[in-house]
Symmetry: C2
Subunit: 131 residues, 2 copies
Amino acid sequence: MSASPQFQQVGEAFVAHYYQNFDANRAGLAPLYRDNSMLTFEGEPFMGAINVINKLTSLGFQKVAHQIITCDCQPILASQPNGIVVFVSGNLMVDDSPNPMKFSQTFVLMPDPSNPASYYVHNDLFRLNYG
Amino acid sequence: MSASPQFQQVGEAFVAHYYQNFDANRAGLAPLYRDNSMLTFEGEPFMGAINVINKLTSLGFQKVAHQIITCDCQPILASQPNGIVVFVSGNLMVDDSPNPMKFSQTFVLMPDPSNPASYYVHNDLFRLNYG
């Protein structure tokens, strides 16, 4: 796993890009999802970029900021094409609440069929971790 | 996603089996891993069933119990063979500590090439969620 850590670089670059856009302009995340993308948000399932973005943009807060604490990545070598698992934990600050919430989120990134050097979100699973 | 929820059943059955065995006899988890299996445990990477099981059996507690709070599953449809993402959150009770720790864990299950009706753990990522 250590000889070719490109999956870690891809995952970390994705995470930086994803949460920066989430916090600044959620609708701008649309290009990261496709028709076969899935989101499970607090147990509620959505499929397809339109439904995913509708959910993300309908979340009832005005201001949001993610602080990433951990970002673990692994390649999925046993299937073709090879995806990348990205497993994130962090703090979520919403509106003017002084108390961050803990969250965990898992993504599976897949190479874009039209541009295998870039990746899209095939799977997205989000949970708050209540204390 | 709702028409064929077999992935959810597979994921939930796996989770019940996995943590029951983890808590009773960690060495007994070995058949769930293969040579290409990966574990990232609190950020530390391991590859191959032997290294994974060595890590799990060397964890420094005598008694452990997992309480599962959430188990979200999604199929990975964009690669062949189709894996299943299993995203778990719960409480971890270690030895005689009265205070459970929060944890999150992500698995990617892959069909066993020699028996596609059964699955093994291709990816395993574990994190404690400090409060």
